[in-house]
C-alpha cells in the first residue's frame, strides 16, 4: 500500500513538472516570445525603461524585450558579444559605459532627427549616442552632525583629514564610478589616484546609494556622495531614510557638481535597425521625456524642452563643470579604483 502511495506521489510530481515545463513557455513577459521584438540592454532604472517600452509598444505595436544589468556589465558584455550581440538598443544610467561601446566602434549613427531633440550640452559631439536623462551629484549630510558652514567646498575636500571616517559612498556602483570618471577628466590621473587612496583610508563603504542615504540619515556617517534623486524620491515618499538630512550642491564647476548624462544608442548590428532608431527617437521625444519627468524616479529630462519635476533644483542652476561625456574613461576608473582597493 505504501508503495502505491509513493508511486502516486512520484507520478503526480513528475506530471506536474512536465506540464509546467512544456506549458510554461508563456510564463515570461509575452514580449520575450516574440521573435520580432526589439532587444534592449538596459542599465537605466527598470521602471523608467519599462514605461517607455510599454508606451512604445502601444504606439507602434513593436514589442520590447529588456535585459537588465549595470552600466559597465552590459557595456563589456556587448563588447564581448561583438557582432553576434543580441542587443539592439543600449540605455545606461551614466555616460562612461556608452563611451566603452562607442570606443569599440559598435554604435550606429543616431538619426539626426533624434539628435536634434536633445541639446548638445546633454549629448555627444560624435552623434553615436544621445542623452536620455541626467542626474546631479550631491553631498547629502545629516543636519544634526554637520552645520552649513562646515560643509565641504569641493569633492576633493573629502580626502582631507577633517573628513576622515565621516563620509560614505558606494564605489561598487556605476554612479560613483561615473563621478570619479569626471574627476579623472577634470583633474588628471595623479590627483584622482591620490584622492582614491585617501578615500579608501577614510570612507565608509555602502552597497548602494540608497544605503548611503540610509546611513547618513541614521547618523552612521555625517555625509555621503550620491545622486540627487535618491533623496528626492525618499522625500516624496515616506522620508524614512532622509528626514534628518539635507542636500548640498557643490556648484562652482567643481568635479563634485558633475551632471551625469544617461545615454541611449543603437547598435550597428541591430537586426531591427529602423525600429531601434524609432525607439530612441520616442525616448527623447516630448512624450518620452514627459513620462520620465512625471515618474517617481525623479531624474532630469534632457530632451524636447520638457521641464523637470518642480521639486528639483533646475539643472542650469547647478553650475556643473564642463566634461565631454564621450571621453569619460570608465575602464581606467575601474582600474584605478581596483588598484586603490575600493572595488
Amino acid at each position: 500500500l505504501q508503495r502505491i502511495r509513493l508511486l502516486a506521489v512520484a507520478g503526480s510530481v513528475l506530471t506536474l513538472m512536465i506540464v509546467t515545463a512544456c506549458g510554461g513557455g508563456g510564463g515570461n513577459a509575452p514580449a520575450a516570445d516574440d521573435p520580432n521584438a526589439l532587444v534592449v540592454y538596459n542599465a537605466q532604472h527598470e521602471a523608467v525603461t519599462k514605461t517607455w517600452a510599454d508606451m512604445f509598444a502601444k504606439q507602434t505595436g513593436i514589442n520590447v524585450v529588456i535585459r537588465n544589468g549595470k552600466d559597465f556589465e552590459l557595456a563589456n558584455q556587448i563588447k564581448q558579444e561583438g557582432d553576434k550581440s543580441p542587443a539592439e538598443v543600449f540605455l545606461t544610467e551614466n555616460s562612461p559605459a556608452m563611451a566603452v561601446v562607442e570606443d569599440a566602434g559598435m554604435f550606429a549613427d543616431v538619426d539626426p532627427a533624434t539628435l536634434d531633440q536633445v541639446p548638445r550640452d546633454y549629448s555627444t559631439s560624435s552623434g553615436k549616442w544621445v542623452g536620455i536623462a541626467a542626474r546631479a551629484t550631491v553631498f547629502v549630510y545629516n543636519t544634526s552632525k554637520v552645520s552649513e558652514a562646515d560643509l565641504p567646498k569641493s569633492l576633493l575636500d573629502l580626502a582631507d583629514p577633517e573628513w576622515h571616517g565621516r563620509w560614505g559612498a558606494a564605489p561598487g556602483g556605476a554612479d560613483f564610478q561615473a563621478i570619479v570618471s569626471a574627476l579623472l577628466q577634470l583633474e588628471g590621473e595623479q590627483v584622482t589616484g591620490e584622492w582614491l587612496e585617501d578615500m579608501k583610508a577614510g570612507y565608509k563603504n555602502y552597497s548602494g546609494n540608497n544605503t548611503v542615504l540610509q546611513g547618513v540619515n541614521a547618523g552612521e556617517v555625517d555625509g555621503g556622495i550620491i545622486y540627487h534623486y535618491y533623496w528626492y524620491r525618499d522625500q516624496a515618499n515616506t522620508k524614512e531614510n532622509s528626514a534628518n538630512t539635507k542636500l548640498h550642491y557643490f556648484r562652482g564647476e567643481d568635479p563634485g557638481a558633475f551632471i551625469s548624462v544617461s545615454g541611449g544608442g543603437v547598435l550597428r548590428t541591430a537586426k531591427h535597425h529602423d525600429q531601434a532608431q524609432e525607439f530612441l527617437k520616442f525616448i527623447t521625444s516630448k512624450a518620452g521625456q514627459e513620462s520620465l519627468a512625471d515618474s517617481t524616479d525623479l531624474e532630469y529630462p534632457v530632451g524636447s524642452g520638457v521641464a523637470a519635476a518642480p521639486a528639483l533644483e533646475p539643472l542650469k542652476d547647478l553650475d556643473a563643470p564642463s566634461v565631454n561625456p564621450s571621453e569619460l574613461n570608465g575602464p581606467q576608473v575601474v582600474e584605478l579604483m581596483t588598484q586603490a582597493g575600493l572595488i
Binding site: L6, V9, A10, L14, I18, G27, G172, G173, N205
Partner: protein, 533 residues
C-alpha cells in the same frame, strides 16, 4: 542563499545501504550494451562539470604570472580573505554549537514539546538566507559587520548540522554510554568522551556544508554590506563583466572550496562507529533536565524566534506596508516554476545513469564519476555562471542567453542533490527483481519500463523535488545566465530589496518560502525515518 539539501539527512542511513551492497556478490556483473549507453550519458555530464575549473585554469594561463600577481597579491585580497575566512569559521562554530546542542536536547532529554521543537528546528531551511538578511536589515538599524553576517548565516544554516547530528544520535547504540557510566564517569564526561566522538562524522559533514554555503553566499551578505570573495566577484562583474580580477578572485574562491573539501576528508578519518551484529539497539535513557529545562526552553525558543519569527514578522510588516502586486509576481512565479521544472527534470535525468552505475556497477571508475560531480557542485554559483557565460559567448554562441544554458548551470550546481536521493532509492531496490524479469524473457526496454523505473520512482521524485527547491531560490547563476526578459522570484526579490524597496520585495520572499515549506516537511519525515535502522 540557503539552499535546501538532502545531503545531511541522507548521509546518515548510508551504512545500512553499504551493508546491503557488500552482501550481494553479483553486483559487478554487467551487461555490455546498456552499460555503454549509461556511460555514454554519465561521462559527458561529469566532463561538463569540469568547465568552470578548466575556464579558470585557461584564463590564468593566458594572464600569466605577471598578470595574476598584481591582481591577487595586494592588501585588498588579504582583507577579503580575512573577511571570508573569519565569517566561515565563526559561522561553522556557531552552527556546530547550536546544531549539536539542539540535537541533544531534542533526542536525548525530557525537554517538554520535543517533537514540535524538532520539527520547527528544520523549518529555517525554508527561509533562504537572503530573505533572513532582508528581514534583519530592514528591522534593525546599523545591522552590519561580522556580527550581523554571522547571525544571519548561523540562523539560516544551523539545520545543516542539526539534521545529521540528530539523525546520528538516534542511530547510536547507547550501550557504549552505559558502559562508561557504569565505570563511574559523570554525565558530562560521558557526553564529551563517548557521545561527541561518535557524532564526529555527522558534525563535520554538516559543518563542511555550512562552510561551502558561506563561500557561495551572495545575497545575504551583499545586503548588509559584508564583503567576501563572492560579493566582490559580483561587484567586479558589474563593473567589468568578466574581467580578469573577477576571474582570478573566482580562482581563489575555488581553492578555498577545495581546501574545505580536503579538510573535511582529513578530519573525518577512518574510524568506524557503526554497530555491528544483529539485535536491536537499546532505546536511550533520556536525561532528566530538571530545572535546567527552563533555560533550555528559553534558548530554543529564542533561536526559533530569531530564525523564523523575525523573517515572518518582517515580511508581514512590509507586505502590509502596501505593496501593489501587479502582474510581476505571477510572471516571476511562472518562470521560476518553469526553470525549476526543466532544471529538475534535466538534473534528475542526468543523475540517473551516474547513480545507477555507482550503486549497481561499483568500481573505481564509477566512484570517480560520482565524486567529480560532488566537486563541481561545491563551487559557488557565481564561479559556474562566470565560466558558462564566457564559454558560451566565445565558443557556444547558439546556447548563449538561452534557457538551455541556465538549465545546464543548475545541473552542474545541483547534480549531487539528485544523486544522493537516487542513490538511496536505487540501493533500496533488489537487483534480483531485475534478474527475475530477465530470466522470464522480458526485453531490455520492457524491463526498464515495467520493473526498474517503478521501483526507483520514489527516488526519482524526491531527487527532482530537491533540485527544484534549490533552483527556486537560486540567485547568482540566474542573474548572470537568464535569457533576456526572464525574471524569477529570486531575481525580482533581489532587485527590490537591493534598492531598499522592502515593501515590494515582501511578496516575492513569501512566495519563495511557500514553495519551500512542503519540501522542508518531506525532509523532516525523511530524517525521522532514520531510527535504529
Amino acid at each position: 542563499m540557503a539552499q535546501l539539501t538532502a545531503e545531511p539527512s541522507v548521509r546518515a542511513p548510508a551504512p545500512a545501504v553499504s551493508l546491503r551492497e557488500q552482501s550481494s556478490p553479483r553486483l559487478v556483473r554487467s551487461n555490455g550494451s546498456s552499460d555503454r549507453l549509461l556511460y555514454a550519458i554519465a561521462v559527458p555530464v561529469v566532463l561538463l562539470g569540469l568547465i568552470p575549473i578548466g575556464f579558470i585554469v585557461h584564463e590564468s594561463l593566458i594572464l600569466g604570472w605577471a598578470g595574476i600577481e598584481p591582481i591577487l597579491f595586494r592588501q585588498r585580497v588579504a582583507d577579503l580573505l580575512s573577511n571570508t575566512v573569519s565569517l566561515a569559521v565563526v559561522c561553522m562554530l556557531g552552527c556546530v554549537v547550536l546544531g549539536v546542542a539542539a540535537a541533544w536536547l531534542i533526542e536525548r532529554t525530557d525537554l517538554p514539546g520535543r517533537r514540535v521543537f524538532g520539527a520547527l528546528l528544520v523549518a529555517p531551511l525554508a527561509v533562504p538566507a537572503f530573505v533572513n538578511s532582508y528581514a534583519w536589515a530592514s528591522l534593525v538599524p546599523r545591522f552590519e559587520g561580522l556580527a550581523a553576517a554571522s547571525l544571519v548565516t548561523v540562523l539560516s544554516y544551523f539545520p545543516f548540522v542539526y539534521l545529521p547530528v540528530a539523525a546520528a544520535l538516534r542511530g547510536l547504540d547507547t550501550s557504549l554510554e552505559e558502559n562508561a557510566q557504569a565505570l563511574d564517569r559523570g554525565r558530562i564526561a560521558v557526553f564529551m568522551g563517548v557521545v561527541l566522538p561518535q557524532l564526529r562524522v555527522a558534525t563535520l559533514g554538516g559543518a563542511l556544508l555550512v562552510g561551502l554555503h558561506i563561500l557561495a553566499e551572495f545575497g545575504a551578505l551583499q545586503m548588509i554590506g559584508y564583503e567576501t570573495f563572492t560579493t566582490v566577484i559580483l561587484v567586479q562583474y558589474q563593473s567589468t563583466f568578466n574581467g580578469p580580477a573577477a576571474t582570478m578572485l573566482a580562482g581563489l574562491l575555488v581553492l578555498c572550496c577545495l581546501f574545505f573539501l580536503c579538510a573535511e576528508l582529513a578530519a573525518r578519518g577512518r574510524a568506524r562507529y557503526a554497530r555491528v551484529g544483529s539485535g536491536v539497539a537499546r532505546t536511550p535513557r533520556l536525561a532528566q533536565l530538571g530545572v535546567g529545562r527552563w533555560p533550555a526552553l528559553l534558548a530554543l525558543s529564542t533561536l526559533l524566534v530569531f530564525a523564523l519569527g523575525v523573517p515572518a514578522f518582517a515580511i508581514t510588516r512590509w507586505w502590509l506596508h502596501g505593496a501593489d502586486l501587479g502582474s510581476d509576481l505571477m510572471i516571476a512565479l511562472l518562470s521560476t516554476l518553469r526553470l525549476g521544472a526543466l532544471g529538475a527534470l534535466a538534473t534528475t535525468a542526468a543523475a540517473l545513469p551516474i547513480a545507477w552505475l555507482a550503486v549497481r556497477r561499483r568500481g573505481r571508475f564509477s566512484t570517480l564519476l560520482e565524486r567529480s560531480a560532488h566537486l563541481t557542485s561545491s563551487l559557488p554559483g557565481v564561479v559556474v555562471a562566470l565560466a558558462l557565460v564566457t564559454v558560451a559567448i566565445r565558443w557556444a554562441h547558439p546556447v548563449y542567453q538561452t534557457t538551455t544554458l541556465v538549465v545546464v548551470s543548475y545541473l552542474m550546481l545541483f547534480l549531487p542533490r539528485a544523486l544522493v536521493n537516487l542513490r538511496a532509492g536505487i540501493a533500496q531496490t533488489a537487483p534480483e527483481l531485475d534478474d527475475a524479469a530477465r530470466a522470464l524473457g522480458a526485453s531490455e526496454m520492457r524491463r526498464v519500463i515495467q520493473v526498474t523505473l517503478p521501483l526507483i520512482a520514489p527516488g526519482l521524485a524526491s531527487a527532482a523535488a530537491f533540485v527544484f527547491l534549490a533552483i527556486s531560490t537560486e540567485l547568482t547563476a540566474t542573474l548572470l545566465l537568464a535569457p533576456n526578459g526572464t525574471e524569477t522570484l529570486a531575481t525580482q526579490f533581489w532587485k527590490y530589496s537591493d534598492s531598499l524597496d522592502y515593501a515590494a520585495a515582501a511578496p516575492f520572499a513569501a512566495t519563495m518560502i511557500a514553495l519551500a515549506a512542503p519540501l522542508t516537511y518531506v525532509l523532516l519525515q525523511q530524517s525521522r525515518k532514520v531510527r535504529h535502522q
